[in-house]
């Protein structure tokens, strides 16, 4: 009973937040609504005992991705009237994309279990009694190890590409070279001069 009530509460919050993401006038409010949507869906995942997924969603999307999002949105000076201009014109296309997405969802749910890897193999890996996370890890690193490694390599490539595309070293910026600072010796900076402490001409 209580679980059902909690589910409907979080589901309602999720839908409300998702609507706000597209309808809010202020882009910062939109980004924050997206945060709320992520958080509510994480709560829904916790409810079906997928605690690893739920917490990972909060950790990755709420804790890191959306912070960077907000960061950028906060600094932009977005003209809202320009953004709203083509709303009616693009509406049919948007509705079409939405419908396709709903259809895809229905197909996935209707198809039941997607049979990518023989089921008994997965069951064998998950046979050891243990918690959700241990199970996930044991399947991920045995049955699905190659797709997993492939995904890791793709991500690494994406990181490197993103950095290479955006990082330009400007010549005119002041830059601290820590290695050079550490390498300096006393002789590089200091010259000892021997001279008499008094001169006759002064007196």
């Amino acid at each position: 009973m209580i679980e059902k009530a909690i589910f409907y509460f979080f589901a309602a919050v999720l839908l409300l937040a998702a609507t706000l993401v597209v309808t809010a006038r202020n882009p910062v409010h939109s980004a924050l609504s997206l945060v709320l949507a992520f958080f509510s869906s994480a709560a829904l995942w916790l409810l079906i005992e997928a605690e690893f997924l739920g917490i990972a969603l909060v950790l990755v999307y709420v804790g890191a991705v959306m912070v960077l999002f907000l960061f950028v949105v906060m600094m932009l000076d977005i003209n809202l009237s320009v953004m709203r201009e083509g709303f009616a014109r693009y509406l049919p296309l948007g509705v079409l994309v939405g419908l396709v997405m709903v259809l895809q969802m229905l197909l996935v749910i209707g198809a039941g279990v997607v049979d990518l890897v023989p089921e008994e193999q997965v069951a064998a890996a998950g046979a050891l009694d243990g918690n959700n996370i241990r199970l996930l890890g044991s399947v991920l690193y045995t049955v699905y190890v190659y797709p997993f490694e492939l995904a890791a390599i793709v991500l690494l490539l994406a990181i490197i590409a993103a950095i290479m595309l955006t990082h330009r070293r400007r010549g005119d910026t002041k830059h601290q070279d820590i290695a050079a600072q550490v390498r300096t010796r006393k002789a590089d900076r200091l010259r000892m001069v021997r001279m008499p402490s008094e001169r006759d001409s002064d007196s």
Binding site: I2, F52, A56, V58, V62, V67, L70, F71, M74, N132
Partner: protein, 340 residues
């Protein structure tokens, strides 16, 4: 009916944790002022109560009675929401911290992940406070804080990955049980570089000196909370100190064996200290880290912003990556008392 009883029991447990936590926060401010003042050869607060012991309450009362000023062009909703967003995760993370054997609100399997997720949400309070105030200093502080916290979270996460590799569990209680034994059985020794990295990034995560560019009194006045006054300001303060105690508690649990005595299982000293409850050992370890916080504040000058970023990305993260590989080797070779 049963559900109702369970609910009230959980609420009672939460209250039993939060009230002492707030007291600890209050006396942390007092301890900080006392310790800093003695480092600077001053006396510190000594007027209110015996040796100034009632000073935190006097401060709280003063802040309660002050007006909460809403800046004219501020975004009202977010301006009020930001302090709540900063204190909520600081308190929520305490749910999974075991204070002694079995003394924990929620003994969940994904405890360590949960703590990481909660602490990573604290940055929203800071960013939103800075943006909603509609002030240049506040926005600068918010941007600095956002970049800093996101960067150091990575180093911190990697350090915690080392702990979970060594313990073989994400459950806080099991992590502590994996460190059973005297002081050299605890994880600080095999994971020493990760311990240091964790602690440095913990200090940076809480925006404390020497990493307090988000506030930077001498550069941007008070950074993200420059427009806040009264209780709203006090809540930011509460959140900062609650976070400090949280990071210290985590350090004690993950690297210093939580509730275990440093003489656990030794022939003569072990039985001698058996009467000390585990809670006392845990609190002593937390106090050690809290003192380190104050000590840092009293002795280190503030880092420059680009130096902070360099330290986080180019020093701490590579160190953790290297040591993760070493930990993997140690645990394959079942080295010492830690990995057998």
């Amino acid at each position: 009916m049963n559900a109702l009883i369970e609910l009230s029991w959980i609420t009672a447990k939460i209250v039993a944790l939060i009230v002492p936590l707030f007291l600890a926060v209050a006396y942390m401010t007092y301890a900080e002022r006392k310790v800093i003042s003695s480092m600077q050869l001053r006396r510190g607060p000594n007027r209110v109560g015996w040796h100034g012991l009632l000073q935190p309450f006097a401060d709280a009362l003063k802040l309660l009675m002050k007006e909460v000023v809403l800046p004219q062009n501020a975004n009202r909703f977010l301006f009020v929401l930001a302090p709540m967003l900063s204190i909520m995760p600081a308190l929520a993370a305490w749910a999974v911290l075991p204070l002694a054997d079995g003394l924990v609100i929620a003994d969940v399997n994904a405890g360590l992940l949960y703590v990481l997720a909660m602490t990573s949400m604290g940055v929203y309070g800071i960013i939103l406070a800075g943006w909603a105030s509609n002030s240049k200093y506040a926005l600068l502080g918010a941007l600095r804080a956002g970049a800093q916290v996101v960067s150091y979270e990575i180093a911190m996460g990697f350090a915690l990955v080392g702990v979970l590799m060594a313990a073989g569990s994400l459950n806080m209680g099991e992590i502590i049980q994996a460190q059973q034994g005297p002081i050299w059985n605890w994880f600080w020794l095999p994971l020493l570089p990760l311990f240091v990295v964790y602690w440095i990034s913990g200090v940076a995560e809480t925006n404390r000196l020497p990493f307090d560019v988000a506030e930077g009194e001498s550069e941007i006045v008070a950074g993200f909370h420059v427009e806040y006054s009264g209780m709203a300001f006090a809540i930011f303060f509460l959140a900062e100190y609650a976070n400090m105690i949280l990071i210290s508690g985590l350090a004690a649990i993950l690297f210093l064996g939580g509730w275990y005595s440093p003489f656990e299982g030794l022939p003569l000293l072990g039985p001698l200290f058996d009467w000390v409850p585990g809670l006392v050992w845990f609190l002593l370890k937390v106090c050690l880290f809290l003192f380190l916080y104050i000590w840092f504040r009293g002795t280190f000058p503030r880092y420059r912003y680009d130096q902070i970023m360099r330290l986080g990305w180019k020093v701490l993260i590579p160190v953790t990556v290297v040591w993760l590989i070493v930990v993997a080797g140690l645990s394959l070779g079942e080295v010492g008392p830690w990995f057998s």
